[in-house]
Symmetry: D3
Subunit: 137 residues, 6 copies
């Protein structure tokens, strides 16, 4: 088994807010992240696929193809967007690092198959905070 | 002459938009940055002061004091904010990397004096784009 | 399963020395690290917890709480300290990268539970050397 | 179980080309990488071993010894070389990131044993692309 | 005066060789870099322009335009190339970090003008080695 | 004028303490850095020389020679040492980032001449704090 990881980046806004909570509750729980004007990050995405090495090309997947999949399925949707307002998954889900990793997994799992198998999605919100998702059990 | 540089970070939203232009003009000039829902970045700030080394302490400035000045004058104002909507300078100025560097210079120049002299303000919007400002003339 | 990783840093001194060995033996085995005046590093710690995403907040754990746990249980004890002389675990154990990772695991495993499960402790002594610990068994 | 990872770097040239394909096929499949004059990278290697911590020294493996093994078995062979022309494995295999990781695994697995067990080989071709190999099933 | 810096990257091969020297002389002077099969690097380029901030847009230069200039004048010429064999400047000049910085300056100085003034070209051959050029006199 | 910068690293211990002050004064002024057991850092050094490019070799200075000078004059003296106790300059001077940069300048200025001229010494104590020294007036 060999794993191949491709990194991509996007910049976006978000905020944390639970509608059924008061402003005070949101402020207490989310601190500065509850500012509804939004704030933003340079997100970094590491997408890892696993598979077999093609004996002729030496590739698990075609790198240009993988880059295009990430561009079309993730970057074109997330980049320079307000995640809460413009990315469908986050109309109802909080755009935390955890949920962003899960959302990207769901966007990519079918798209990288059958060329390869999606193995891991890592999302960095900052260099000091990241989430990893490996799919449902 | 010795220079001392302290790094700090904040996360914020912004967008680029000239009110007197049409949506099409804004889109053509600013591309994805014209999205008025905003997008955001992990900004990195390098503040450089110059001065003489205190012969007893070996410091140009007290580091804890410098950190507190940056925290109070910049980070508390910019972090987890929407720059266009919440930071006074950018109600009328575009929050470009260039203008952010100039705004931070103006916020800090008097505050680090007379302990030291503000020498340079560098602002990274992403690791691939940064502006340096050295003050007027 | 989702994993969330938070990074923290500290600066500390250490040295490597086995009391029952001669100076020559220590020098031969540990090289420059056997200097009993000590030397030091900017250590980097990545603490990974796993758990379920809270459907309301989108968090595996509250980030501020996790940061406070790391600060209280690790950084307050290790930062600006001489590991051999001031951190209890290393009175008898060598403060190698491996043993530091194990010591931090033992300090944190109960503290992050039951909110989440400690999954991995990674300690970088330098950018070129790091240890990972996943607990016993 | 504890894992220890040591990083090393080398610089080398390579190109991608399948002899049984036409120039047009190679260009279509490999793009700029099919340039037979070669291009190059600063490769980064993370070698991870697992084992038990020696109770006296606190080490899984002697770090100087591990560094010497990497230097002798990998860096001396790959550094400042044209991978296709000068490294035996790549006379017949394409020097992709995947195949380089596998080749390094095969060079190292016996050499780090029995002191420790080779656990993972990670090779970065650029900061945005890397492969991980864990050996044959 | 405000400076704006844009980063770009390319990967290329090169070697060091003085035709009028013997192989032994070349080996002695250039070490592993004298291998005529070539080796390569992930080069990093920081191009800095200076100018005035446009009061309406807040830009010194249009970023998309600057990126396109770098792409057309530098990256398209240098990326995935063998510098000695394929980039005209290095048919007769050694492709050292110093000479690459000077060559890029000469390619860009007229092209960024009159929108802005080229201020600095920095080229990293590796993270540990870089050259800065500020033009003649 | 062309500048060439070479990076080097070392690890060392230090502490801040003014003998003529009380423990309380030292603690108040230097905080955790006043711990006389010492703490440490992975220091990063960027040494910049300026000169003319040799028309034959394309070098400002021979890189191997520059690396050897840094190794002999700085790294061999500072690495794995307690700066206050083992490096002569810091028997009487505080080993602050500022004073370390000045000390390195004085160690190197004559040694890189006349091959080149020492232009700048930058010392990072952490990635967030660095000092630059350009010599006396």
């Amino acid at each position: 088994m060999i794993l191949l990881t491709r990194r991509a980046e996007w910049s976006a806004s978000h905020y944390y807010w639970v509608d059924s909570w008061s402003e005070a509750q949101n402020r207490e729980r989310f601190g500065k992240c509850a500012n509804r004007n939004g704030h933003g990050h340079n997100y970094v995405l590491d997408v890892t696929v696993r598979g077999n090495v093609d004996p002729q090309t030496g590739f698990v997947v075609d790198l240009k193809w993988l880059k295009d999949v990430l561009e079309r399925e993730v970057i074109a949707v997330f980049d320079h967007r307000h995640l809460n307002l413009e990315v469908p998954e986050f109309r109802t889900l909080m755009p935390t690092t955890e949920n962003i990793a899960i959302a990207i997994w769901r966007r990519l799992a079918d798209k990288v198959s059958p060329a390869a198998t999606l193995h891991q999605v890592r999302v960095y919100e900052t260099p000091d905070l990241f989430a990893d998702y490996y799919g449902e059990a």
